[in-house]
Amino acid sequence: MVKKLMESIREQKKNSILAMVTISGEVVFEVIIPLLMANLIDYGIDMGDMGYIVKMGIVLLLSALGQLFCGAISGKFAAIASSGFARNLRHDMFYKVQNYSFSNIDKFSTASIVTRLTTDVTNLQNTYQMIIRMAVRSPLMAIFSLVAAFGIDTKLSLIFLAIIPVLVLGLYFIMTRTHPIFERVFRTYDKLNSVVQENLHGIRVVKSFVREDYENKKFTAISENIYKDFKKAEQQLAWNAPLMQLCMYAAVLLLSWFGARTIVACGGDAATGLSTGELLSLLSYATQILMSLMGLSMIFVMLTMSRTSGERVVELLNETPDITTPENAVKSVPDGSIDFEHVQFSYRHGTEGKPVLSDINLHIPAGATVGVIGGTGSSKSSFVQLIPRLYDVDLGAVKVGGIDVRKYDLDTLRGDVAMVLQKNVLFSGTIKDNLRWGDENATDEEIRHACQLAQADDFIQTFPKGYDTYIEQGGTNVSGGQKQRLCIARALLKKPKILILDDSTSAVDTRTDALIRGAFAKEIPNTTKIIIAQRIASVQGADMILVLDDGKIVSCGTHNELMQTSPIYREVYESQTKGDPDNATAS
């Protein structure tokens, strides 16, 4: 996991290393300064030597400036390095997701991808900064201080060697006990978030059924769990500070006792034993050593907390896109014909379970209009999604223009196979911006023309700002039917060889629906059109109508043929025209 994450450091390696190097400088000054201060007191103040005070003062000031310089520089580098690391990580993840195929996207929920890219990255950014600053600083500080302490008095410094293991063991014990609780808390947090999210999405349902209290109870129960677990974890962690204090106080007392005896024994002569000034230095090193160990333990806490984030990020980065452009890919689509040869398809390749589509054999000539009718769960959408290779087949082959879709360059294939998805999305931006997704160089006339075909021009003209009307995120300021027509216009701008409408006019009224189909027949006769619909009227005039049931093509033919041969088709037709016998005969 760490290795994968480290790949995103890249150009920030230099800054990270600089931050670590300069912070070592800061540490050196920080270890020297107590010595200087002790000298200032021992030889300056205590002796009343004003000259020494000023001289030492200047040295001290310079050291302080040195520390400030190193610290500031290191702070700067660390800030740049950690922000840069976060930027790279976000970049890598976002790019990775862009390369995902539909089945990769299906695997993660949208919300979970978003959390990984936002909250988790921020967590890792903080942790990274902590590591390059504290992870170098703390051990260095401990080592330098320990060296300095041993330099002053070896025997007394053995006290540190006795106390450090106690602290380390204690911290280790606390960490191992809190870790599982923290992991549990984070899982519960996910649950809490999903309750809030569902509540937000379903607020109309909640209010309609007057379930506010029920939702409150659900929320409070999870909230209570978080409270209990988090409290428990923090109470375990609460042992950290007193443990540290006890160790430090023990060090102070032991140093005082043995230090006093040593000083008295040698008569306070630094050369043969220990001076009072040296004892003070030892005591301040004690603080520094133990404080830095404490700092290290805080790093472990941070690591514990961000481990889950790391895992979630890496999971996203390690996901391999299962649909990619092959080598020597075909760069142009000859025509809009489509062939299905013994196609079998399931969403989870290889695992047991019934295939969603099985044994599909079909030839659609270029320029044909094909209607697809079928019940809920009859795999109509799955069927058409194989054409622009949004998913790969398990067995058999899908061919566009006589060439297997797996041999095409993906951009080429999808550029010529336009698909209007059932669950479609507009993006924030003007109507024009949205339409230019289809063709970024489209002229205003071309845009207008596409909208006229999709019967969107009329309502766009009624907006005060026309084509420059701003679409809110998620297209909330246009109605469902308007959104669908805009999505069709967007697809038309691609000037595709194949156009697939996956139930894309369900929210459009019947008259407009008919106008759209009429425009298609007149204006883009050479484009192969595949229309999935619920309304028979939408497919009635097609050259070929497929009736799908349970993942199989059960019937295929024109309207009149199917009325004769397909009981399912007839049943649907009659259910839609019932109560109006005149019409049934009219067609």
Partner: protein, 641 residues
């Protein structure tokens, strides 16, 4: 709290300060239930701080009172020192335990406070009007629960105890310093003043960058959310590269602001340290100078001469004085973030709740000798309980008679989207709305259950103005199947039971059968016990709709609103659903919004809407005979074939 006069006298900065103070006090008020805990924490922090101050004072006495005299003795007796050390050991142990106690208690206080805030947020959110949810993005609302609450946790569990402990340390060190030299203490205060100025400058700078960082972060996160939501569209249009370019632009912008903000935050620590050393040197020089010049020293205990030992001690103390202050400044950025988080949370809590002035309630009733009386039993017969000003109570049977009279409505006051809507629905009638998208069909149904309030006119339910009916009771009497289906994490059974919490398994299954959902539910791996997650993502749109119909069916309301409910179920399934629905609709008043005219043909009344006006009304036959818009709509689909 009365509104503050918003005069021009308050500068931007001052009003910010005012705001923060208010936010802080409000935040603290959430800790009120933990008053006793806090008093205990207070004491423990004081004891713990006292122990650490004692520790630094002890060093002076160790040298001055023990080591130096012992050095002069030929036969040193260490028993005095041992006694002093034991005394210190006791103080230390007490100090360490105080630290433990306050940390453990703070865990209770901080988590308890957070829980309270969290629960209150959610509870309050449930009372907010639909308008709030329509005008805020879900991401924004989510971050109240995630990011903002998290910043509060940081502040309550770390910053507050840290600050308290620092204050105690500073105060006790300050007192000790006064006993050494008032002159030097005054000098130190003056220096502190300068120090705060510098810190203020740096934090102001970093603060403005932090604001920018948050803005860019919001910008990047918003983009991520939008693009990931539309990821499949991006794939279909091969728009990956363009999306990447745009993303990089925003991401780089965030990088710039984030590194600036963090730079200033990181530099603060070294600056504080360096200033601490500066102070040290200055005091050494000044103190030394004063002592050598023999300036009389003023202390709390009286006048005296400045001793060199005193200066040495003062220098030590100045370290203990600066350290906690610099620790507090380290907390500043997290406090700023927490205050920003808190004020966002409070803005949610301050969002105005849905108003409910209704007083007419829905009660179980039974008929005795033709007179309606209230009862506790579930009789299947419901009545509106209408208390009057003169103290009398009348009961009106719940029949499902709905009437709209000259109703005008607009989501914003400037733009009216429905004009002069007048319509009657007799109990058991089926009223259908047809019309082009955006004609205002869905809006009408938002008004009947008072998701939005009308701007003019009246809506009456069984002859009672709906503004007089308590909203929960009004909504309970209306069943709704919405265009966008929302299911909740839980089993299929639980999702159906959402319609009526005390429904038995049998009732739920019966409802599912009615909605024609039973068949596919039994095919699911665990049948009715199959757990749905992520809004029922494993199910098809149609299947989810079937469950939502079953959910409405189990609630068994007298009035139903079906908002384009059947539009994504295929016609075959729909035919079967329709027969179930017809059974369900029997005896109920139903409002249907549908696009397929085939589903509205058997309605009693069809309303044709256009630009917020009812332009035609009547039965299918009447409207066909009128040869108006409905006729064109109806025949239009076929004439082009």
């Amino acid at each position: 709290m009365p509104p503050r006069p918003n005069g021009p006298r308050l500068s931007m900065k001052e009003s910010m300060k005012q705001l923060d103070k208010k936010t802080l006090f409000r935040l603290l008020s959430y800790m009120k239930p933990y008053r006793l805990h806090l008093v205990f924490v207070f004491i423990c922090i004081a004891v713990s701080a006292f122990a650490s101050v004692m520790s630094s004072l002890f060093l002076k006495s160790l040298i001055d009172d023990y080591i130096s005299p012992l050095l002069l003795e030929s036969n040193p007796n260490f028993s005095g020192l041992l006694y002093a050390l034991l005394q210190m050991a006791v103080i230390y142990v007490i100090g360490a335990f105080s630290t433990l106690f306050y940390n453990r208690t703070m865990a209770v206080v901080s988590q308890g406070t957070l829980k309270k805030i969290r629960d209150e947020m959610f509870e309050h959110m449930q009372t907010l009007p639909i308008k709030f949810f329509d005008t805020h993005t879900h991401g924004d609302i989510m971050s109240f629960y995630t990011n903002d609450t998290d910043t509060l946790r940081q502040m309550i569990s770390q910053s507050i105890p840290q600050t308290l402990s620092s204050i105690f340390t500073v105060v006790s060190v300050f007192c000790s310093m006064l006993t050494l030299s008032i002159w030097l203490t005054l000098f130190l205060i003056a220096f502190l003043f300068v120090m705060f100025k510098i810190v203020g400058k740096v934090t102001a700078k970093s603060g403005s960058y932090f604001v920018r960082q948050q803005q860019s972060l919001g910008n990047v996160n918003g983009y991520i959310e939008e693009m990931i939501n539309g990821q499949k569209v991006i794939k279909v249009f091969c728009h990956e590269d363009k999306t990447k370019v745009e993303f990089d632009k925003r991401n780089d912008d965030l990088f710039t602001n984030a590194s600036e903000a963090n730079k200033f935050a990181n530099i603060l620590g070294p600056i504080m340290n360096a200033l601490g050393y500066f102070l040290y040197v200055l005091i050494a020089v000044l103190g030394g100078g004063l002592a050598l010049a023999g300036v009389p020293n003023l202390t709390l205990t009286g006048m005296g001469i400045m001793t060199l030992g005193g200066i040495a001690s003062f220098l030590q103390l100045s370290r203990s004085f600066v350290m906690p202050i610099s620790q507090v400044t380290q907390q500043i950025s997290s406090i700023i973030m927490a205050m920003a988080g808190a004020s966002r949370i409070f803005s949610l809590l301050d969002a105005e709740s849905e108003k409910d002035e209704g007083y007419v309630t829905l009660v179980n009733a039974e008929k005795k000798n033709g007179v309606l009386t209230e009862t506790d039993k579930h009789t299947g017969l419901w009545a509106w309980k209408h208390p009057h000003k003169d103290g009398t109570v009348t009961y009106t049977e719940l029949t499902g008679h709905v009437e709209l009279e000259d109703v005008d409505f607009g989501y914003t006051p400037e733009k009216t989207v429905l004009h002069d809507i007048t319509l009657y629905a007799e109990p058991g009638q089926k009223v259908a709305f047809v019309g082009a998208t955006g004609a205002g069909k869905t809006t009408i149904t938002n008004l009947i259950n008072r998701f939005y309030d009308i701007s003019d006119g009246k809506i009456r339910y069984d002859g009672i103005n709906i503004t007089k009916i308590k909203k929960p009771d009004l909504r309970r009497s209306l069943g709704v199947v919405l265009q966008d289906v929302n299911l909740f994490t839980g089993t299929v059974m639980e999702n159906i039971r959402y319609g009526k919490l005390d429904a038995t398994d049998e009732e739920c299954i019966a409802a599912a059968k009615l909605a024609n959902a039973d068949g596919f539910i039994r095919m699911l791996p665990q049948g009715y016990d199959t757990v749905l997650s992520g809004d029922g993502s494993g199910l098809s749109q149609g299947q989810r709709q079937l469950i939502s119909i079953a959910r409405a069916a189990v609630a068994d309301p007298p009035v139903m609103i079906l908002d384009e409910a059947t539009s994504s179920i295929d016609t075959r399934t729909e035919a079967i659903v329709q027969s179930g629905m017809d059974a369900l609709m029997k005896g109920r008043t139903v409002f249907v919004i549908a696009h397929r005219l085939s589903t509205v043909q058997n309605s009693d009344v069809i309303m044709v809407l256009d630009h917020g006006h009812i332009i035609e009304r009547g039965s299918h036959r009447d409207l066909i005979a009128q040869k108006g818009t409905y006729y064109r709509l109806y025949t239009g689909a076929f004439e082009l074939e």
